[in-house]
Amino acid sequence: MTVNVTAHTSGGVTTARIEGEITSTTASGVQERLLSLLGGAGRLLIDFSGVSYISSAGLRMLLILYRRAEQAGTGIALGGLSNEVQFVMSATGFLGFFEITDDLESETGRVRP
């Protein structure tokens, strides 16, 4: 099981695209990679459109990331979430912590540092 994170920065917004499954075995690697992007210029937009599955451990990783971003005085936004992931995040109250965007294209332009 592999997962890849690719990142690019444009207009002060870093977009991290994740591809694969985020589970208890892959979550810590993804977390490490995303944390390294947090320190960059401005906010971090995480693109989930390439994520086929995210487990409880994956969702916990996102909450840790959220708190780290808060500590660092920056923010993160989530995009490209499947309906199912969004539903699980909503039912567990996790969704309330995040800024969610449906339209990744325009969001990249809108999210400002």
Partner: protein, 703 residues
């Protein structure tokens, strides 16, 4: 200083798994750096193995025997490193003697669930037929335990200030009319918080949410042939695990997070959460029941056994938990602490709590150590503790449940006399007076908060059925109408069940309002059964424990069609909130404590100061006097007439101000009740006509 510990490292391998001697406390499975610490108690086991499964697999991935030196006292303990926590299911295999006469029922063929399991898989989605051929049905899982509570904590609302709303997680939103995104779940209930706020209740009491098996009922509905469920869930499989089938996210193993999100949001709305907990028995039944956990680990410790080794059955369900055994006391205490510390719940209602004060041989103890321990425990110190103060073995302790100044009780006597009064029985007025004053005869010295007042609860008729049926109609339960209580004190108002007769319909509506009006103006803690505020019916079934269908579910179309009753209930709750004299911490005793010129409670009849206590009396009025939150003089007068004739009431004189009318169940809507604070002045300052079978509530403040 390094964050590592010198015991973070395995000391040996068993079957390729890296392990080391664990720590005996806490029991259960605990995350430690790099691994999981397992700890399980068994006094009689000769050997113990930890059985590990990959999630969902039929056969175990491995069995790791506890080496003899990994046993401290009677506790087997081992730390296992490098496990994939999300995909792990675990259990225990205990070997030992099978000698029922001595209490031993070890069965090395069975894989046993951890009594302290934080999550259980196996019934992840409600109603999905299980594969009974699978070994190990209810599988213990590891829970991460972390949750972002932010600043949430139990609310600590004074007990006497509560208005409790008893409901069932699934039943509340399972009906197709609920309109929530995940019907029948914690998340669904969370979506209905705005409704609860609008209703005005500040506490929900949830029927059992500890993991149970809805398939442990083998009966069928004789009419439809459909298999019945165990819908209520008073049959615990796992005491530390929230029911997965009540979570939309159960299949993801996220039921703990979903339930915590519900508690957190209820607290944000000012609503406390009480859990209905069942410590009197378990789902293991008697000698014919399944071996799930306790029975195979330490049968003689966890259950009350006869000298011959059979199960005592004070619960009416096959076995009785040996609550006052020191080890079991510790188990119960740890469990309750877990729900308060980990899930932030505000308190508990104990099912058949009289069993909690029986000793190991079943006899009631004068100073039951478990109850004392719960009353003084530091973590439970501000949790509500409510006893259903009776059991199925004939112990009835309403009014004298061992309480240590802490325990409240479901006041069954309140329910009985209120029902009898409302249907017009003779000889009820004297007792009614004691009950609406907070039952000082039962709870003197303990205060009204000791008395949880109710007319209806999950067990018995709904309010609508109470005024629509003379007899129970439980045929759908598959026991030939033999189950359920027969002494319902109900009256159908002239026709059994559904009727199109408008006069009967109007009388039923009035009778429901009468019950709610008295309940919500009584001293003590009122408890409403969910749906009663909109006239929910179970078609005369007074024991819907097995009915997972429209009989039990909250039909949300009633919110529209029964808006009159809902509005009536909302305003009564608002009135109670606005009048602290209805929910004082001490019993009223007829003394003018607040220096308003009138006693805190006084009794009246058709004429003021002349209550009729004779057996034939069907009319009583009570006046409460004191001060409101602003310190101003406040008066509430409640006249209750269960007579089929109306009466001209002469009203007591106020110590200032004029009488205003808040509610009159004999008046047609919208004049049946007013928005608190907008009550109109009475047409005649000292007179009011009370209609047949009606309740009138007046208020007089300083103006």
């Amino acid at each position: 200083m390094t964050a590592e510990r010198i015991d973070d490292f395995p000391t040996r391998q068993i079957d390729g798994y890296r392990v080391r001697q664990g720590r005996p406390f806490p029991h259960g499975a605990t995350l430690v750096p790099g691994g999981v610490n397992f700890s399980v108690f068994s006094d009689g086991a000769t050997s113990m193995a930890l059985v590990l499964f990959d999630r969902g697999a039929d056969e175990p991935a491995t069995e790791l025997p506890f080496p003899p030196e990994y046993r401290i006292g009677s506790v087997f303990t081992m730390t296992v490193f490098g496990l994939d926590l999300e995909n792990l299911e675990y259990g225990f295999r205990a070997d030992g003697p099978f000698d029922p006469a001595r209490g031993y029922r070890f069965d090395a063929r069975a894989i046993l669930a951890d009594p302290y399991a934080l999550l259980l898989s196996g019934r992840d989605t409600w109603g999905v037929m299980p594969d009974w051929t699978r070994p190990y049905q209810y599988r213990a899982m590891i829970a991460p335990g972390d949750f972002d509570w932010e600043e949430d904590a139990p609310l600590r609302t004074p007990t006497e200030g509560l208005v409790i709303y008893e409901t069932h997680v699934r039943g509340f939103t399972r009906h197709p009319s609920s309109g929530v995104s995940a019907p029948g779940t914690y998340a669904g209930l969370r979506e209905k918080i705005p409704y609860l706020r609008e209703l005005g209740v500040n506490c929900v009491e949830l029927m059992p949410i500890f993991e149970f098996d809805e398939f442990d009922n083998s009966r069928v509905n004789p009419d439809t042939g459909e298999r019945l469920h165990n819908y209520w869930g008073y049959n615990t499989v796992g005491f530390f695990a929230p029911k997965a089938g009540y979570a939309a996210t159960g299949p993801y193993g996220m039921q703990a997070d979903e339930f915590k999100a519900l508690v957190k949001d209820l607290h944000r709305a000012g609503i406390e959460v009480l859990l209905d907990v069942v410590f009197n028995h378990t789902a293991e039944g008697n000698e014919y029941g399944p071996t799930i956990s306790f029975k195979g680990l330490d049968n003689a410790t966890y259950y009350m056994l006869t000298p011959e080794g059979y199960y005592y059955n004070f619960s009416g369900t096959g076995n009785t938990v040996n609550c006052n055994h020191p080890v079991v006391r510790d188990f119960v205490l740890t469990c309750l602490r877990h729900w308060v510390a980990e899930y932030h719940v505000d308190g508990f209602r104990f099912d058949l709590a009289a069993i909690l004060d029986r000793g190991p041989d079943g006899s009631p103890l004068p100073n039951p150590p478990l109850l004392e321990q719960l009353a003084y425990d530091p973590i439970l110190r501000h949790s509500k503790l409510i006893a259903e103060a009776w059991d199925a073995g004939g112990l009835y302790q309403v009014g004298h449940f061992p309480n240590y100044g802490r325990w409240s009780e479901w006041n069954g006597k309140y329910r009985d006399v209120l029902r009898r009064f409302i249907k017009g029985d003779e000889g009820t007025v004297g007792e009614l007076a004691a009950r609406i004053a907070g039952s000082p005869d039962l709870y003197g010295g303990r205060g009204p908060a000791a008395s949880v007042n109710f007319v209806t609860a999950h067990d018995g008729f709904t309010l609508n059925d109470l005024v629509s049926y003379n007899d129970k109609h439980n045929e759908a339960n598959g026991e030939g109408n033999g189950d359920g209580a027969n002494d319902n004190n109900s009256w159908n108002c002239g026709a059994e069940g559904l009727t199109s007769d408008p006069e009967i319909g109007a009388l039923r509506m009035r009778q429901m309002k009468n019950a709610l009006a008295i309940l919500l103006t009584s001293q003590g803690v009122p408890m409403l059964l969910a749906g009663d505020e909109v006239g929910r019916t179970q078609l005369g079934n007074n024991n819907t424990y097995c009915q997972d269908n429209e009989l039990s579910w909250f039909d949300w179309t009633l919110v529209e069609s029964n808006a009159e009753l809902l509005r009536f209930t909302q305003r009564l709750i608002g009135f109670r909130r606005d009048h602290p004299i209805l929910r004082e911490a001490r019993h009223p005793i007829g003394v003018d404590f607040s220096e308003v010129g009138l006693p805190d409670v006084s009794w009246h009849g058709v004429r003021p100061w002349e209550p009729d206590w004779s057996p034939g009396s069907r009319l009583l009025a009570v006046m409460r006097c004191g001060r409101n939150a602003a310190g101003e003089k406040d008066h509430v007068y409640v006249a209750m007439n269960s007579h089929w004739e109306g009466h001209d009431l002469e009203l007591p004189e106020l110590s200032g101000g004029v009488w205003r009318i808040f509610a009159d169940t004999g008046a047609a809507t919208p004049s049946d009740i007013y928005e608190p604070g907008t009550e109109p002045v009475l047409a005649h300052p000292r007179r009011h006509h009370i209609a047949p079978r009606s309740v009138v509530i007046l208020t007089g403040s300083h103006d």
